[in-house]
Structures are given as structure tokens and as C-alpha cells.
């Protein structure tokens, strides 16, 4: 489009050299800063916590905190369950495993054999509060007018087989405290202490629990490695010594390790394969090692700047970004390829600065469309996607600027050889074929045929918003965790109730209201049970009601004494019991100080700027609709269902993304109309058709559309528009070498396919969808892009 530039004058030469030196120094400084950020501070800032990728979805600010709290309550430990058909073999294996894990010194603590404990000592702290703690059933019968204390006493004293374990008869002759203690979560757990091990029996098999607490965070690389290798060693010996043993495992550390291994594998496959592929391709195309080194230098500057900026801005880099970054190589290398092609095509007349001026409009337009695409990606409130967008934008900008400012200084001499003739020849044949089909009377028939073929594919398109797009735990790990949940009776902890209020008392009262609803579900057989604080620490109001229900009995001291004596209790026992009345309520501090509350303290979130809150965990019901009915019309109670929230968010943003894509298409079309006038439809056609055909192919492949497909289509639009622009702008400059410009576009496309396309092999579904969409989209667009220039022009050249 632009005319031939005047030859540069001598004084102009010095400024570009100075600029190149400045840019080189800048790049070197960035690289050093990046190296220090990555390796110089001890511990790599690579984030393996899958939870950190998830967007904030909950309306209530405390809900996000609760999600995190639950995830990390079990976060820094391994829960291992040793399984064997033979009871004593299972227990020996568990003891053995525990001992070996202790000996490995890789863990902060191991809980296999339980420390000796004294039941009386554990229960004694409840005695002062016994007149404030009643079960619902006892409170209901106490407040009935026909309540007969003498008969209640007789029933209790004549219970079949034994009169209760734990609280002594003299401390609790009516059994009220005993009944209440029977309802405590530790009494309901399927795990019972046997032979000093926490054991469960199921289907004639014995399961023994061993808990290993890590020496730090599950997401710490060193902690992860030492813990896992110690476990692997111990497990191997135990399995050898006790054949038939099976070890089930649960814990964040296993997920983190799997995610890390998957990502490392991806980075190796995508990064290495695409680097090698691009290297071979460039060597073949330019027939000289120098362009290859230059292209990699420009790309490396882009990637290093992107890494440094990402770590600077976000503090750490997520796995997903790392894998995506490996794929970005293929797009960042495009700018230098265009410049190198211009140099190869110019032959002996090459002048570095004129080359820059020649490619600048195309590169700037291409950069603008890419930045636009990634900016839209960054608009999604997913931390991981934001990071990817930031990474891509910085990387592309740095790579593009290196072409303007650094490469001219390194490529001052003309190219020794033109582009590989076989590549140019291939490109010319492809270009002519596609262009002939895309023009004249056949073009409408071809277009109609394409649409006809595409229609059934579009018709078959479905969609999928499942959370497993982002987090897909390995199937066997998920199965083992489900089994452990089943055996230990623990909830799935991704669905729970958040109860909040202005004071601790209000939270407890609201929890009690919720528990009344949950009790109904349990009675209907729609839920097994639940675990919440209010069951262990009733609200002051509830304790007052309990006390009030007992007060009439104790009001007539003489009558009560007579009844107790008449029932057969010793007089000193009766006196001591009556003296204990009225006792005192159980306070939050007293409860938190009890040893038995330790495993449940994490359910109490305490006070924050948003008030007080607690967590109630349902067990034995996964259907969010059923769970939600219990929270309906209760103030300050909501069901938090993180997987469902994220799926809903995916769905919402999938719809937005399709609208954004249309808007971006319109935007790009407007830019093209402004720059190319009547030729604009031909320039926009290849990316548009590329997107359409990609959707068709996905439909035929039976792949449901996800948010990530739409995000990738956005990139297809950006990259496809680039190719159309490169061809349309570049053709006049290389009119003397037919096919050379298209050869440059093909080079760009193949490098992009080599890197993005390889993402289709990724172990993460999100990246896999990204990869397959880009593979199809870039492939189709690259094939269609010759229709950008009318065929007649080529023939006349």
C-alpha cells in the first residue's frame, strides 16, 4: 500500500543502533530480574494450588473464606486408610506404615496409634454444664404436662444390659447428659478406636486410618516431594510385608503433585516439541541458522519479559499460565518471521530500516488485534485467565517491539539466500488453487457448498460448563477419596452451609434454626447427618430454654430428693447431685478449651469484618437442590456449592464470550473497512469462515462447546485477521516473488499450529479445548486466507 521509501541517509543509522543497544540492555535487565524472581529467592513462585485458579463466585464475602478454610483444614495432611480383608493384618499394616512414616522423618506428625486417653477426663469438663445441655427429645418430653420424673428415672436405671458408658450414673441419674453426649459427632463417627487404632469395618473388610501431617504447605515443592517419596517407600515395604493390603489416600498434596506432574509433562511436550519443530521449519525455510537464532531471540525476549511481568504483578505464576506460555511461543515468533521473510524476499536491495517501515503497518495491526483478543480474555474474572491474558499481552508486545528496535541492528546485511524455493512453490500452488476457487462464478457455489457442509455440524453443537474443565482430579484419586468419605462418614466439603450473623449468639441461633430443617431431611431419609457447632455448643438462648425446662423439677427440692431416693439412689449421691444444680452455661471459650472440640474448631470461623460466621457440613446428600430447601427462608444461612457456582459462572461467561466474539468481529470488520474499503469483505472472510468451519468441525467431533472453546475462537479471530493483513499488506512488496508472502503466512500458521496445536495433547481439559480449537481455527484460516487478494492480480504479475 505504501510507496517505496527514499534511501536512508547516513545520520539516521546511528539512532537505530543506539535504540537497539538500549533495547538490548533493557531485555538483559528484564531477564536478570526474571531469573532472580524465579530462582534467586528460594522456592519457585509456581502456584500448584488448583483452588487458586478458581474465580470468586460467592455473593457473600465470607463464603469464599469458608471455602478456603475447608480446603485447607485438611490441606496440609495426608489421610491414609489401610484396607485388608483380615482384621489383624490390616491393623499390623497400619501400625507398620505409621512407624515407617515416623522413621522417615519427612512428616511433622503421624497419627496411627492413638495416645492413651481417659474417658472420664474428657467428659468431666461437661459436668458443670449438665443442666444446660439437653437433647431436643428430652427437652420436648420434659416440657410436656404429663412428664413423670419417677418413671423417667426408672427407665434409665433399668435400661437393658448396662446403664450407660461414660458419664457415671451418680452424675447423671436421668441420663440427660448421656443422651446429649450420644449425639455428639465423635459418638456418631463410623470410626471406632480398636487396638488403639481408628478402625472401621465394612463388608467384611477392615479399614484403619493413618494421618500424616506434612512439614509445611501441600503446595510447597520440597514438602511435597519429601512427603510423597517417604510415603511411596513406606507403602512399598508395607505392601510387601502384608500382601493383600490396599492403601487409600486423600489430601491436597496428592492433587497438587498430580497437577504439577501433569503441567510439567505438558510444558515438556508442548515447549520442547514446538521449539524443535519451529527450529527445523525455520532452518528449512530460510536455509541459514542466523534467521533461526534471531527468531528465537525475539521470542525469548517476549517470553522472558512476560514471565517477569507476571511474577511481578501477581507475585507468583500459575501452572496453567506456564503451560499456556509454552504455547505462546508460536504466536510470538510470527513478528520476527514476517520481518525475516521481508528480508529474504528483498534480496540484495535489503535495508534494515526500510524493512521495518515495510512490515510496521501489518505488525501493528496484527499486534492490535491480538492485544484486543487477549484483553477480552483478561476481562473474565478468573484469576488464571487474567494471568494468561497479562502474560500474552506483555509477551506479544515485547516480541513485536524487539522486531522494531533490536532486530534491524542484528539484520543489517541482506539475506544470503532467498526463501526456500520449494516452500514458495508450494505456497504459490496452494494460493492459486484457493484463490481460483474463491473468485469468479465458482466462488458463490463454493461458499454455498461450504455452508451446506457446515450446517449439520452447527446443528450438532452442544455445550458443557462443568467445573472439571478447570479441575479434573485423576479418576483413581477421586475414587479413593470418595471411598474414604464413605468409610469415615466425612462430608464432601465442597457443599456446605454458611451461617453468619452480627454476634456469636446470633450465628448459633441461626444454626439451630437450620438444624431443625436438617433434622426433617434426616427423618425423611434424604440425608444421613450433619456436623455443626450448635450441636456441640448450643446457643445461650437454647441453653436457657434447657435450664428452664429442668427448673420446675428442681424447684421443689424436697420432692426431687424424695423421688431420687425412692428410685433407689444412695442418699450421698442424691445430695451431691442436687447440690450441683443450677450449674452454669457452656460458653464459647469453655467449649474451645475442651480437648474434644479440637477436630471441630475449624467449623467456627469466628469474627471478621463481615461479622461472625460458622460452617455446617451436611453428610449423605450431594443434590444441591435438596440441600438448598433446608436453607430456604432462613436469614443468615446459605448453601455454598462451589462446583455448581463455578459451573454457572462458566455458563454465563460462555454466553458472554459468544457475544464478545460477535462484537470483536464487527470491530475488526470496521477497522478493515476503514483501511481497505471495498476489499474489506475479502480480508474479513478467511477468519470469519475459519471460525465457522471450526464450529462445524467441533460439532462433527461431538465436542460440547465450553467457555474455553469460545476464548480460543477469540484468538483464532486475532490470528486469522493477522494472516489476512499480512497477506494483503505484504503482497505488493513481494510481487516479484509469487507465493513468497503467502509462504510467510504459512510459516506463521505452521509455527502457531506446532505450539498451540500441541496444547490439544495437554492433560488439562481447559488447555486441551483451547488447543483443539486453535488447531482447527488456524488451520482453516490459513488455507482460506488466499481469497484475500483477487487471483487476477497474481496472474498479471
Amino acid at each position: 500500500m505504501s510507496g517505496p521509501s527514499p534511501p536512508p541517509r547516513a545520520p539516521h543509522l546511528r539512532a537505530p543502533l543506539f535504540g537497539a543497544a538500549l533495547f538490548g540492555t533493557f531485555a538483559l535487565a528484564v531477564a536478570l530480574l526474571g531469573a532472580w524472581l524465579l530462582f534467586g529467592r528460594g522456592g519457585t513462585p509456581i502456584q500448584t494450588d488448583l483452588l487458586a485458579m478458581l474465580p470468586a463466585t460467592e455473593r457473600h464475602p465470607l463464603a469464599e473464606a469458608a471455602v478456603e478454610r475447608l480446603a485447607h483444614a485438611n490441606g496440609d495432611r495426608m489421610v491414609l486408610v489401610v484396607e485388608h480383608a483380615n482384621d489383624s493384618e490390616a491393623k499390623d499394616a497400619a501400625r507398620d506404615l505409621g512407624k515407617r512414616l515416623v522413621d522417615s522423618k519427612a512428616f511433622a506428625s503421624i497419627t496411627a496409634e492413638l495416645p492413651p486417653f481417659d474417658l472420664d477426663q474428657l467428659l468431666a469438663p461437661y459436668l458443670p454444664h449438665r443442666f444446660h445441655l439437653l437433647t431436643d427429645a428430652d427437652r420436648a418430653s420434659l416440657t410436656r404436662p404429663d412428664y413423670d420424673p419417677a418413671q423417667a428415672l426408672a427407665r434409665r436405671l433399668n435400661e437393658p444390659f448396662l446403664a450407660g458408658v461414660g458419664i457415671k450414673l451418680q452424675d447423671d441419674p436421668f441420663g440427660w447428659l448421656q443422651h446429649w453426649l450420644d449425639q455428639q459427632p465423635w459418638s456418631r463417627s463410623p470410626l471406632v478406636p480398636e487396638d488403639d487404632l481408628l478402625t472401621a469395618h465394612r463388608d467384611d473388610r477392615t479399614y484403619v486410618m493413618v494421618i500424616a501431617t506434612l512439614r509445611g504447605s501441600s503446595y510447597d515443592d520440597t514438602v511435597q516431594r519429601t512427603g510423597l517419596s517417604a510415603l511411596a517407600q513406606a507403602e512399598q515395604t508395607v505392601l510387601q510385608d502384608h500382601p493383600g493390603t490396599h492403601v487409600l489416600r486423600a489430601g491436597a498434596v496428592f492433587h497438587a503433585a498430580e497437577a504439577r506432574a501433569g503441567a510439567e509433562h505438558d510444558v515438556h511436550v508442548v515447549g520442547l516439541t514446538s521449539t524443535l519443530g519451529i527450529a527445523v521449519l525455520l532452518l528449512w525455510a530460510f536455509r541459514s541458522p542466523r534467521p533461526l537464532l534471531i527468531a528465537f531471540l525475539s521470542t525469548a525476549i517476549g517470553i522472558v519479559t512476560a514471565i517477569t511481568a507476571t511474577v511481578l504483578i501477581f507475585g507468583q505464576m500459575h501452572l496453567l499460565t506456564l503451560v499456556f506460555g509454552a504455547a505462546l511461543l508460536g504466536e510470538a515468533v510470527d513478528y520476527s518471521i514476517q520481518y525475516l521473510c521481508a528480508r529474504a524476499n528483498a534480496g540484495a536491495t535489503w535495508q534494515a530500516q526500510r524493512g521495518v517501515r515495510q512490515v510496521r503497518p501489518a505488525l501493528l495491526l496484527a499486534l492490535a488485534t491480538s492485544l484486543l483478543g487477549y484483553a477480552l480474555l483478561g476481562g473474565v474474572p478468573f484469576p488464571a485467565l487474567r494471568q494468561m491474558a497479562c502474560f500474552a499481552m506483555v509477551g506479544m508486545l515485547a516480541a513485536c517491539l524487539s522486531v522494531f528496535w533490536l532486530l534491524p541492528a542484528l539484520l543489517a546485511k541482506p539475506a544470503s539466500k532467498p526463501l526456500s524455493p520449494s516452500l514458495v512453490g508450494l505456497a504459490r500452488r496452494m494460493q492459486n488453487g484457493a484463490a481460483r476457487l474463491g473468485h469468479g462464478r465458482y466462488s458463490w457455489i463454493a461458499l454455498a457448498l461450504l455452508v451446506l457442509v457446515a450446517l449439520p455440524g452447527w446443528w450438532r453443537l452442544g455445550h458443557d460448563d462443568d467445573i472439571h474443565l478447570l479441575i479434573s482430579p485423576p479418576a483413581d484419586l477421586a475414587r479413593e477419596e470418595a471411598r474414604i468419605r464413605d468409610i469415615t462418614g466425612l462430608g464432601n466439603s465442597s457443599q456446605f452451609y454458611l451461617v453468619h450473623g452480627d454476634s456469636a449468639e446470633q450465628v448459633l441461633q441461626r444454626e439451630e434454626a437450620l438444624e431443625a430443617h436438617l433434622q426433617t431431611l434426616v427423618q425423611q431419609g434424604r440425608m444421613d447427618s450433619w456436623t455443626g457447632i450448635a450441636g456441640m455448643l448450643p446457643s445461650a438462648q437454647r441453653q436457657q430454654a434447657n435450664h428452664a425446662a429442668l427448673a420446675p423439677l428442681f424447684a421443689d427440692h424436697a420432692l426431687m430428693e424424695k423421688q431420687l431416693l425412692h428410685a433407689g439412689l444412695r442418699d450421698n449421691v442424691v445430695a451431691a447431685y442436687l447440690n450441683a444444680w443450677p450449674g452454669q452455661p457452656l460458653s464459647m471459650d469453655a467449649w474451645l478449651a475442651m480437648p474434644v472440640s479440637t477436630p471441630f474448631r475449624y467449623l467456627w470461623m469466628g469474627q471478621s469484618e463481615h461479622g461472625f460466621a460458622s460452617i455446617v457440613l451436611p453428610q449423605g446428600q450431594d443434590d444441591a437442590n435438596v440441600l438448598r430447601t433446608a436453607a430456604e427462608e432462613l436469614p443468615g444461612v446459605e448453601l455454598v456449592d462451589k462446583p455448581a457456582s463455578i459451573s454457572a459462572l462458566f455458563g454465563r461467561y460462555r454466553t458472554y464470550a459468544s457475544l464478545w466474539l460477535s462484537a470483536a468481529l464487527v470491530l475488526v470488520a470496521l477497522v478493515f473497512v476503514w483501511r481497505y474499503g471495498r476489499a474489506a469483505p475479502r480480508v474479513i472472510a478467511p477468519p470469519l469462515l475459519g471460525i465457522g468451519l471450526t464450529l462445524t468441525a467441533l460439532g462433527y467431533l461431538g465436542e460440547p462447546l465450553t467457555l474455553f472453546h469460545w476464548m480460543a475462537l477469540m484468538l483464532v479471530l486475532g490470528v486469522g485477521a493477522n494472516y489476512a493483513v499480512f497477506l494483503h499488506e505484504g503482497e505488493p512488496h513481494a510481487a516479484h516473488v509469487p507465493g513468497a508472502t503467502y509462504a510467510g503466512v504459512l510459516l506463521s500458521a505452521v509455527t502457531a499450529l506446532l505450539s498451540f496445536g500441541l496444547l490439544a495433547l495437554s492433560s488439562m481439559p481447559a488447555l486441551q479445548h483451547f488447543g483443539i480449537t486453535l488447531l482447527l481455527g488456524i488451520g482453516f484460516t490459513a488455507l482460506l486466507v488466499p481469497v484475500t487478494r483477487p487471483a487476477r492480480e497474481y496472474e498479471t504479475v
Partner: protein
Amino acid sequence: MRRLIALFLCWFAVGVHAQQSTLLQNVLNELGNHATVRAAFTQSRENPALAQPQVSQGQLLFVVGHGMLWQVTEPYRETLALTGGRTARIDEQGQSQTVRGGDRGVAQVSQMLQSMLSGKQDDALRQFDIDAQGSLSHWTLRFTPRQERMGRVLRRIELGGDQFLQSIRVEMQNGESTQIRFSETRDAGPLTVLEKRALGMPP
């Protein structure tokens, strides 16, 4: 000579052990032959907190694989259904109301008895050392807790009987002891609708 005695003693001990486990097996087989049993019971309990023993009387219905109905008639009227780990109170209309589920006391002992009387001794053997004495026509099984934790609460359980179970004695470490004697023990015959419902059996 001492070696010979030692050897003899060892052999004898093995013999006794073998004899015991055959007796245990035979007793369990015999008990397992009676799928449903009815009996009248008298329970007497002594406890350090009690000045005089508590005595109650009633009827017991035991159904293998389902549990038992514990029907007290004296000194008050109450029907308890002990099924698995669950204890429910049955009112006059046959409506059941859960008293408790899965607690470690009554339920654990009743569960152990249920599995013993069903001829399944695995659960019991895991929890107790079992010592069998006497003959098939007059036997005693003594259960001593193997688990230290349980041993700190429960001293022992003794079952005695002939063709049927005739007595149960539960001794606790805190000095409580409960003696249950059965009489008029017999095969139950058909169950009533109310009984079936209370035990959660198909009508």
C-alpha cells in the same frame, strides 16, 4: 522330665483350646438353629450409686438378622426395639421413636449379642477373648474385652445356657453389674404385624 511335662502341658493346652473352640462353635450352631426366640426375662442391676438393686421384668423377642424387642412390663411398661446400632421406643400404637442411634453403650453390647446369637462370631472375636466352659447341655461363655479402651469400661460379659440362652451377666469396671435371667425360652412362631414393623421387617 521337665521337658516332658512342659510338652505335655503344651499339648494339653492345645487340646483344651481346641475343645473350647469346638464347644463355642457348637453352642453358636445350636443358638443359630433358633431363628426367632421368645423368653420372659428378669433383669437385676447393682450399681455403686444405688442403695438397692433395680429389678425389672418383661418379655424378649429375638429375631436373627433383625434385632430384638425388649418389652418391660414391671415396674413400668415400655417396649424398646434394638436393631443394629439403633434403639427405638415403640408406643402402644406400634409407632417407633428413635431413642438414640449408634451410641457406644447399649447398642454395642446388643449388637455383639445379636451377631453372636446369629452364629456370626467375627465381630465378637474382634472385640473379646471368648472362654467357653461346660458342655452343650450346660455352657458358659465368658467374654473379656480385648480392646484396652473397652476394657477400662467393661470388665466382662457372661452368657450361660443350654439349648437356648438362659442368662446374661454384664460387669462394668465402675462396679455396676447387670444380671438377666431368661425363662420360658421357646421358638417364637409367627410374628405379629406390630412386631415385624417394630423390627423393620417386611410385613
